[in-house]
C-alpha cells in the first residue's frame, strides 16, 4: 500500500470515528459477557420458542424473534428494557409478567446476566 493510501485510510478512520462516537455499551457488558450469554441461550434451548440471530436451528415461533432486541423499548410489552429487569425476566418471567407463557427457567445468576447482556447487544442490521 502506498503511503498516501495509508494516510487516507487513517484519516478516513478518524473521520468515521468522529461521526460515530465510540460505541458505548448501554451497560457494562463486555464482549466476553455477550459471547457467554449467546452460548448460554443456546445451551438452554431458548431457540425452542424464539428465533435467534446466528442460529439456523431451531427457529421457534412461540415467542418473538430475538434479533434487534437491544433496540426494543419494552420487555414483553410490559417492562422497560433495562439490563437488570431483563436479567430478572429471562430467569423468572412469570414473576414480572404474570400472564406470560414463558416459564421460569432454572439458571445461574451469571447466565441470566450474560443472556441479558447478549440480548441488549442485538441490534437491527
Amino acid at each position: 500500500m502506498a503511503r498516501e493510501e495509508v494516510m487516507i485510510a487513517a484519516v478516513g478512520t478518524l473521520l468515521l470515528g468522529a461521526c460515530h462516537p465510540a460505541e458505548i455499551a448501554p451497560h457494562d457488558a463486555g464482549a466476553a459477557a455477550i459471547a457467554r450469554g449467546r452460548d448460554a441461550a443456546r445451551r438452554l434451548g431458548c431457540g425452542a420458542c424464539h428465533a435467534m440471530p446466528d442460529s439456523a436451528w431451531p427457529k421457534g415461533r412461540v415467542g418473538p424473534a430475538l434479533d434487534g432486541f437491544g433496540d426494543r423499548a419494552m420487555i414483553a410489552g410490559q417492562l422497560p428494557n433495562d439490563p437488570v429487569r431483563l436479567a430478572a425476566f429471562v430467569r423468572d418471567a412469570p414473576a414480572l409478567v404474570p400472564g406470560t407463557a414463558m416459564p421460569a427457567i432454572p439458571m445461574r445468576d451469571e447466565d441470566a446476566r450474560d443472556i441479558a447482556a447478549w440480548l441488549q447487544s442485538l441490534h437491527e442490521q
Partner: protein
Amino acid sequence: MSNRFLLASTSAGWPPPVLDPGGPYAEPVTLLAWALLIGGAVVLAIVVAALGTALFGSKRLKAKLGGERAIWLGGFLFPAVVLTGLLIWGLSLTSSLSPQPGTDAMRVRIIGEMWWWRVHYLDARGQEALRDANELHIPVGRPVLLELESADVIHSFWIPRLAGKMDMIPGRTNKLLIEADRPGVYKGQCAEYCGGPHALMGFVVVAHSAKDFERWRAARRPADGGGGPGLDLFLASGCAACHTIRGTAANGLAGPDLTHVGSRQTLGAGILPNNPGTMAGWIADSQAIKPGNRMPAYHQFSGRELRALAAYLRGLE
C-alpha cells in the same frame, strides 16, 4: 458445517464423536476403521507411484512394471492376500461383536418410529418391565443386549461411542450389544434416512455406576395421580390420545410414553435440552422445532395454561 446444529452442538456429546470408542463393542470397530483408512492410503500411494512410473519412469522401470512378474505379484497375489486377510478379519470381528447365547446381558427392546424411539426394558424372562422413550439407561461394565425393531420404515440405531450401526427393519428383530466402560452420556442418531425430520431423530444413552443404576431403576414409578391443573389440562386437551402417563387415565400409544418425561435429558428425541422453557415451546409449536413430526402444534393454551402443563410434565420423573 454451518451453524445449523449450533444449538445442539453446545449440548455435551453432540455431535457424537465417531472415532472415540467408549466400550468393548466399539473399540474393535474403531480399530478396523483405522486399519481400512490407513491400508487404503498405502494402497493408493502404491497405485499412484505405479502410475507415475508408467507415465514418467525410465524405460527400464517401465519394462519392470509391465513385466509378467510385476503383474502376478502386484496385480494378483497382493490383492488376493490383502483382501482375503481383511475379509477374515472383518467377518471374525463382526461375529465376535454379535450376541453369544448365554450372555449375562440386560435386555432392552428398542423400536424405531418416525422420528423417535420406543424403549422397553425387559426382565430376565423377556417380559416388559419398564417403558420409556428416546433415552436408555444402562449400568457400566455390563453388556446390554438391544433387540432392535421398527414400526414403520427402516431406521438405523447408532451410538457411535458404544457400538457400530445396526439397521432397524420392519418385521425383523436385529440384535446389538453395547457396553459402556465409564459413566456418562452417550449420544446417538438415526443413521438411515427415514424421511422428514430424520436428521432430528436423536437418542441418548446414560451409563451409570451399578449402584446409581439401581437407584435410577427404583425411582421409575408410575405417576401418583396428583397432577392438579396440569394433568386436567393434559387429559382435557387430547394429549392422552397419543401419550401414556402410567398412574393416570392417559393411555395413548401413538406417541412417546411420558411417565418419566421430566427426568429425561432431552426433549423431541435427543434434540433439545429438557427444561420448563423447551417443554412449553415443544408443546405449543413442536412443528417449528421438528417440522413434520407427528405431534401437531397446540395453539389453544393461554400463557398460564401452557406453563401449568409444562410444569406438570417436568414433574413426571
